[in-house]
């Protein structure tokens, strides 16, 4: 495009009184400001939360019922003790895995495949704001389901609820780790179907490796369990059912979640940047 004004070429008279900030000749046009990280993040978060409210509430019910159902099934097999704690903690974190990992991977996969990312890519918004806003919204959307599952589980297996406040740390940190993973999978998968598949597999892994008591697992499966970030959320929550929880190890578990969250969200941001400009 060249900088020849329309008036100069077509001889049209400029509107006398109206300001015409963009039509002056000479010099590059001033750039509009960028959106800053935090306000943009807040805007994306709010928009995503509202779309999740409209479209995802039935899915949250499914996630919660699934977890509660698993606990009821396991009630017949497990009789309290360490195993019961693992079942309740695993089922609670499963809600986070369902929404943050599985649904977010699907969402980003679909957005990428349909060209919806163009909308964000043509706005002056930091990539981190889009990824963190969406991940944050999906993670916070899991909060009610996770809390309900933990409380129902505690009642079902007669576990103390004194330290359930630890969910305040478990949900955002496990949420960050799993949502980051979900977003990265959704944005990196070459095809939408693969993104969906990866999300589903991740959730199944969180289910099997999180809910089943770890003591009886064969060694390779136990290693796989250690590799899954949701495991550390499960462990942290399971510890809180002790009469005197080992807070140091709980903090260490949550620290792993936080670290995975940082790395996976950074990877997701990178993947977003790559997917947005081709």
């Amino acid at each position: 495009m060249t900088a020849v004004s329309a008036e100069a070429v077509s001889g049209k008279a400029p509107a006398a009184s109206a300001p015409r900030p963009w039509s002056e000749d000479g010099g590059p046009a001033p750039l509009a400001p960028r959106a800053r990280l935090l306000p943009a993040l807040a805007a994306v978060y709010r928009a995503q939360l509202s779309r999740a409210r409209v479209a995802r509430i039935p899915l949250l019910f499914v996630a919660t019922f699934q977890s509660v159902g698993i606990m009821i099934l396991m009630r017949g097999v497990v009789d309290g003790g360490a195993e019961a704690r693992a079942v309740v903690a695993g089922s609670s974190v499963l809600v986070v895995a369902f929404v943050a990992l599985n649904l977010l991977a699907q969402y980003f996969g679909q957005l990428r495949a349909s060209g919806g990312l163009d909308h964000y890519a043509t706005l002056p918004v930091p990539p981190a704001a889009v990824v963190l806003g969406a991940a944050g919204a999906y993670a916070s959307f899991t909060a009610p389901g996770t809390a309900v599952t933990a409380v129902v589980g505690s009642v079902l297996f007669g576990l103390p609820m004194t330290h359930l406040w630890v969910l305040v740390a478990v949900i955002p940190l496990a949420g960050a780790a799993l949502a980051g993973l979900g977003a990265a999978l959704g944005l990196l998968a070459p095809r939408q179907e693969l993104a969906t598949l990866c999300g589903q597999l991740g959730m199944s892994a969180a289910l099997l490796l999180g809910v089943l008591p770890a003591q009886h697992m064969p060694a390779p499966v136990a290693y796989a369990r250690d590799l899954l970030p949701s495991t550390y959320g499960v462990e942290a929550l399971a510890r809180s059912f002790d009469a005197h929880p080992d807070w140091l190890r709980t903090a260490a578990d949550l620290g792993v979640c936080a670290a995975v969250g940082v790395v996976s969200l950074a990877a997701a941001t990178w993947a977003y940047r790559r997917a947005a400009v081709r």
Partner: protein, 320 residues
């Protein structure tokens, strides 16, 4: 834009099939759009309009060539496009599950507006486009045309000196179309905004555009005002003849017309000089040919004729 080239790599072939040739979607495009102009890109599907627009909005990097936008080098600084361009793409998936109001407000916020300004602009734009009654409805629940209008509203929140609109009026009713063109005109008149419009609707192109570039297979085959383009085909007249079933080829005048006619089923389309057209109409409306004639129309040339006269090979242009 100078010497713009974008080649898509060939689609990966399956085993046993020959590889497809690479597609040059922009094949050395040179284009100057003046500030304050409503400029159109016209062409059939697959002509490379969207590819061209995506290079202008920083979504695609050209393989070669230069894109200069209001004094900014976009090949070197593609990220600047988002601070200069309001873009309406063809997809609405990013906004589909939001309400009309939230879609517009969020887009404004992501264009760097603070909350109060974003809300004020949202209200102004929804009001301008007559969308206020739909403000609380999710885009997904709206009809195609209304959804398109809501996306257009989102594209307008947060002033930009250049609006790039990819088929903005697809699916819209006449009221919504008029609202779109009024909003576009207002931004040009009041703020000197430049508008780049992608369309394959020739009627729309004739009525709203200052200048138009006709694209085919990644090349610009003509670029002028709509009137200037029509002069290319001179005072030719288009004659459309529709036969009841078989054309009466035993009539010598009809047989002679067949050579210059483009046949689609029972319809013949001819582009003729005024005298020839008069003769042709006289021949088919009198005598034995008239019995075989179902309908005929005479029309002054449209951009579609220009396109065909320029050697447009694809026939994807929509009329109306």
């Amino acid at each position: 834009m100078r010497g713009l080239v974008k080649t898509y790599p060939p689609a990966r072939s399956r085993r046993g099939e020959p590889a497809a040739a690479p597609v040059r979607a922009s094949d050395g495009i040179d284009l100057d759009v003046r500030r304050g102009e409503i400029f159109g890109l016209l062409g059939p599907n697959g002509a490379g309009k969207t590819t061209l627009v995506r290079q202008l909005t920083g979504l695609l990097r050209p393989d070669e060539g230069r894109v200069e936008l209001l004094g900014h080098d976009l090949v070197r600084h593609p990220e600047r496009a988002s601070r200069l361009v309001g873009y309406l793409g063809q997809e609405s998936t990013a906004l589909d599950e939001l309400t009309v109001a939230l879609a517009a407000e969020t887009t404004g916020r992501l264009r760097g507006l603070d909350l109060r300004t974003a809300r004020a602009e949202r209200d102004a734009v929804l009001d301008e486009l007559g969308l206020t009654p739909l403000a609380g409805r999710p885009l997904k629940k709206l009809s195609g045309g209304q959804r398109r209008l809501a996306c257009f509203a989102a594209a307008l929140v947060g002033d930009r000196p250049l609006l790039v609109l990819d088929e903005p009026t697809t699916g819209m009713d006449p009221v919504a179309r008029r609202a779109v063109w009024a909003a576009v005109d207002r931004r040009r008149a009041e703020r000197g905004a430049t508008v780049l419009l992608v369309t394959h609707n020739v009627i729309e192109a004739e009525t709203v555009l200052d200048r138009v570039a006709v694209l085919e297979r990644g090349r610009i085959i003509a670029c002028d005002t709509p009137a200037g383009l029509k002069e290319l085909v001179g005072d030719d007249v288009r004659v459309d003849l529709v036969w009841r079933d078989a054309p009466p080829l035993d009539v010598p005048e009809v047989a002679a017309l067949r050579e210059s006619a483009q046949e689609t089923g029972r319809r013949w389309s001819l582009r003729l000089g005024p005298a020839e057209a008069r003769a042709a109409v006289a021949a088919v409306t009198g005598g034995p040919a008239f019995a075989a004639l179902d309908d005929f129309t005479l029309a002054t040339p449209s951009l579609e004729d220009v396109y065909l006269a320029l050697g447009g090979r694809e026939k994807g242009l929509m009329k109306g």
